[in-house]
């Protein structure tokens, strides 16, 4: 295109040629740029793509909204609240000093503390956790300003129990990452926590999240509703606390059940430890409260008629050589079944058991649900133990009649009494009423389940009449409630001491009762384990029963049996 012409001649220069040279040299630039573009965009595309990806896309912290736990009426017992933690990503911070001052003022922490954390950490550190919404608002407002650059506000959840310690032993605990650790929290952890996949989100240079359709959360967390009625729970806890103050027991349990449905309305225990409800985990020798089981068995199996009398052997019955049972609380030679219960006669109950026979008694024990889990569905529920009947000696048989040599849990005992109360049917006890998912699905878990008929309706009726006399004239007088027929049984059991014998000073006092006796609405079990102030079931536990039952009856508006009081 351009012909060569000599250039050197002075005064003879070629403008056109020189321009072409300049053009040629300048054309190196687009050539180089093209080359570099090809290099960057084709050969190093992958590398820079992943770099950009790392710079721009962040994985958002797992954002769990844990479901709540509510009582049967929907009152909140445990709920997760969104708080925030404030962290600092060092590389985004623009004005270090101003940011520190602002954070120190807003969060009310010393500035030096932040500075120390800054120096110790490499890229990121937490300034504060569990920031309440009001403070969070203040922080969030500066997020788009220079002041807020580098501030990372990540949601955190705090488990709040509005009713304080109430029912905490059943609810259990959940940690700050919202994982249930014990109790209901642990058992229903799966439905209460949503399925969380880490969300990939685009962020601007200042850290704002750019919403994307893929960011849409699909929350499907469940709220768990217990059969516990927070009011009943309150009454139970209040009564129990009063008793604890008075008698100073090592442990105390109050359990309220609806005998007709098996729902547990209240389960209070002392001392309160999250996720460890003594009502389900405590095992003990029931003592006298077990006598009604033996009597009910005797009547139902036809071994003894309801009006049978039992010979007292002069109130000192030597069952076998060296094993003597004493009855010190009465002077009678014969006791009817009613009197056995009223006076809580060990000899009577032992003789009844002997009359029934090991095999029948054992089968009734099993039928009442002793010696096996009730499937109330609580973590760590105990089984209790009933030794197989073929290993029983005569003494074993006799003592089992009045509640020694067996170990039961409070939930087993109350469920058995509920069977007596509701006409002879063993109901499945329920603690969880329903699970309600956010998408509207309701999983009902507390439909009344009849496990089996244990005793006939007739026996049930008789037993209630017998137990009513216990409260009216027997050991349970202090459980009387004005206007209502109360049926119940006291229990005072010596505990197996560490040396192997039954020590006098270590004992469990209990009372289990039902009200109203004619058509029970509540079955209430009170257990005080080893009270420091010496007490019997009649003096220690029966008043607690009354204290729980009275407000419950008033609350539910249960019609009184007698109206002609005054």
């Amino acid at each position: 295109m351009i012909r060569r012409t000599p250039f050197s001649a002075p005064g003879v220069f070629n403008v056109k040629k020189r321009m072409s040279w300049v053009l040629g040299v300048m054309f190196l630039a687009p050539a180089l740029i093209t080359g570099k573009l090809f290099y960057l965009q084709l050969f190093r595309h992958e590398e820079y793509s992943s770099k950009a990806e790392r710079a721009i896309y962040n994985y958002l912290a797992e954002d769990r909204v844990r479901g709540g736990i509510y009582d049967v009426n929907g009152r909140s017992l445990a709920e997760s609240v969104r708080t925030h933690s404030c962290g600092i990503v060092k590389r985004y911070v623009k004005d270090k000093d101003a940011t520190f001052t602002f954070l120190a003022e807003t969060l009310n922490i010393p500035k030096k503390q932040i500075a120390d954390k800054w120096n110790q950490s490499k890229n990121f550190f937490f300034v504060a956790k569990r920031i309440k919404p009001d403070v969070y608002m203040q922080l969030a407002q500066v997020r788009r300003q220079d002041l807020g650059q580098g501030m990372e506000l990540t949601p955190e959840y705090e488990r709040i129990h509005p009713f304080g310690q109430s029912a905490l032993d059943i609810l259990g605990a959940a940690n700050s990452k919202n994982v249930g650790l014990s109790g209901i929290e642990q058992m229903y952890n799966d439905p209460m926590t949503q399925d969380v996949s880490k969300k990939r989100a685009k962020r601007s240079g200042r850290g704002e999240i750019i919403y994307d359709r893929s960011l849409k959360e699909k929350i499907n967390v469940a709220n768990v509703y217990l059969t516990i009625d927070s009011t009943a729970q309150f009454y139970a806890e209040r009564a129990l606390n009063n008793a604890v103050e008075k008698l100073k027991p090592q442990r105390a349990i109050a359990l309220v059940q609806n005998p007709n449905t098996g729902h547990i309305l209240a389960a209070a225990s002392y001392p309160v430890k999250d996720g460890q409800s003594l009502a389900f985990q405590f095992t003990y020798e029931p003592g006298s409260t077990f006598k009604s089981i033996a009597v009910a068995t005797a009547i139902d199996s036809g071994t003894l008629p309801p009006n049978a009398s039992v010979y007292m052997e002069g109130r000192n019955w030597e069952v076998t050589k060296g094993f003597v049972i004493h009855d010190k609380q009465h002077q009678k030679d014969y006791l009817t079944l009613a009197e056995i219960l009223q006076l809580s006669s060990n000899i009577g109950a032992g003789k009844v058991a002997l009359e029934i026979g090991a095999k029948t008694l054992f089968s009734y024990f099993k039928a009442f649900g002793f010696g096996g889990k009730t499937d109330v569905n609580f973590n760590g529920e105990s089984k209790g133990s009933i030794p197989p009947y073929n290993t029983w000696t005569k003494v074993d048989l006799v003592t089992k009649g009045y509640g020694y040599g067996v170990s039961v849990t409070p939930i087993q005992l109350i469920t058995a009494y509920s069977a007596i109360a509701n006409g002879g049917i063993l109901m499945q006890p329920h603690l969880v009423d329903r699970i309600v998912y956010t998408n509207g699905k309701v999983e009902k878990l507390s439909k009344p389940v009849k496990i089996r008929r244990v005793i006939s309706a007739q026996t049930s009726q008789t037993m209630r009449e017998l137990l009513q006399t216990v409260v009216e004239v027997g050991s349970g007088k202090r459980a009387q409630i004005k206007g209502y027929n109360v049926a119940g049984k006291t229990g005072t059991a010596e505990k197996l001491s560490q040396e192997g014998g039954y020590g006098k000073r270590s004992h469990v006092v209990s009372f289990v009762g039902m009200v109203p006796a004619t058509k029970p609405e509540f079955v209430i079990l009170v257990i005080l384990d080893n009270p420091e102030v010496y007490a019997f079931g009649s003096t220690g536990a029966a008043p607690v029963f009354k204290e729980i039952a009275e407000p419950l009856l008033a609350m539910q508006g249960v019609a009184p049996d007698q109206t002609d009081f005054e």
Partner: protein, 405 residues
């Protein structure tokens, strides 16, 4: 649009860089004012660049605020207006005594000195704030220096090679101008202007030996200037350490720019989809707009690169066939100014050259840059058109035109 000549319809006769209408007899002069016919290639490239530039200014800045693109539209309109006005009138305006090239240089110097006393912005003072627009005198200096030099060389063409003393006046004027710009702590602009300056002298016939000495002196001065300012030294050092393992020493801007270009891939992320523009890439709508373009358009951005190459080719081709030294050198100088700036900016964005505050003509946001670029194009268009209308062949034109035959 009779404003643009359709010289592409001309049958191809011989392989020349640009087909000229110079030897066709001009139409008989009509009564009244007739618009000059503008070169359609240059006009088309300018228009296309303005439009595409507007698109990418919008894309690069609108995530943050739409204020930039609105102002850019105004700047573009003002620039196009100025270009159209100058494309018809530039030669005539220059005939006024008051607009003698040397006077223009005085004006430029005054502005350059005024700017030294303005408030500093981002450690430099390059702008005179007029409220609506921030006037950047160095942009004006680019034009005036080319006009001055072309005018000077018009008088001395052909004698430069013999008489090196003729180089002293332009060297003095150029030196003062570049030094004043240097005082603004701006190194990129004087470097580019100096390049254009020497190219023009070289094209006009100066001997390389004569040009070499001042280049050497300026080069030494440049090195000293580089090492004097710590921030500049850091930048240069970071550039020199670039590549391979020492990626961390590349400046933050260039790293982000690489990320933008590299992650764009050969197809790009799609118009408007740039991710690095979201507060990652600094000056995404001004100096580093090319990175955003690469990220969004992928290798299609080569259209723009080749567009500038085409502009340069066309400009130099027209300069080659211009009939006067002045016309030739004005076309040559201004085209070269625009294109060298463009290539410098692109090379900077993809790490071929160290980061200097050089805007991408037509594309980068900025009133002075856009308006002055369009003013340059207007002047070029005017000179080209005027040159085409001249058929009164002057002796010197005949002289060097016939040399090639």
């Amino acid at each position: 649009m009779s404003l643009f000549s359709a010289n592409t319809k001309n049958p191809r006769r011989r392989p020349v860089l640009a087909r000229s209408t110079a030897f066709r007899p001009s139409r008989p002069r009509q009564e009244g004012w007739q618009p000059l016919k503008l070169d359609s290639t240059l006009a088309f490239i300018s228009l296309a660049f303005v439009l595409i530039g507007l698109l990418f200014t919008y894309s690069a800045s609108a995530f943050e605020t739409s204020a930039y693109v609105k102002r850019q539209v105004v700047f573009d309109l003002v620039g196009i207006g100025a270009a159209l006005f100058l494309s018809q009138t530039f030669t005539r305006i220059l005939q006024f005594k008051i607009f003698r090239p040397m006077n223009l240089m005085y004006l430029t110097w005054v502005l350059l000195i005024i700017v030294l006393f303005t408030r500093t912005q981002a450690h430099t003072h390059r702008w005179i704030d007029l409220g609506f627009i921030k006037l950047q005198p160095s942009e004006i200096a680019k034009v005036t220096l080319v006009i001055y030099l072309a005018d000077y060389l018009e008088k001395t063409a052909g004698k430069l090679a013999k008489n090196w003393q003729l180089l002293i006046p332009p060297m003095g004027v150029g030196g003062i101008t570049l030094f004043l710009i240097l005082l603004e702590k701006d190194l990129g602009t004087p470097l580019l202007m100096g390049g254009v300056f020497f190219c023009m002298l070289f094209v006009a016939g100066a001997r390389l030996l004569h040009l070499g000495v001042p280049v050497l002196v300026a080069g030494l001065g440049g090195v000293i200037a580089l090492l004097a300012e710590p921030y500049r030294r850091a930048r240069v050092l970071s550039f020199l350490h670039m590549g391979g393992s020492a990626e961390e020493t590349i400046s933050y801007q260039v790293r982000q720019s690489f990320m933008a270009v590299g992650s764009g891939g050969w197809l790009g992320k799609g118009l408007g989809n740039s991710e690095l523009k979201m507060q990652y890439l600094p000056a995404a709508h001004t100096d580093f707009i090319f990175s955003v373009m690469c990220e969004e358009a992928g290798l299609f951005v080569l259209i723009v690169v080749f567009g500038f190459a085409w502009l340069l080719y066309r400009g130099i081709a027209l300069a080659r066939i211009a009939k006067t030294t002045f016309n030739s050198l004005v076309i040559f100088g201004l085209t070269l100014t625009i294109c060298s700036q463009a290539f410098f900016n692109m090379a900077m964005a993809i790490g071929l050259l160290p980061t200097k505050g050089i805007a991408l003509p037509f594309f980068s946001y900025g009133g002075s840059s856009v308006v002055m670029t369009l003013v340059m194009m207007g002047i070029v268009l005017n000179v080209v058109a005027v040159d085409h209308t001249q058929n009164n062949l002057r002796s010197d034109v005949t002289h060097y035109k016939n040399r090639n035959k």
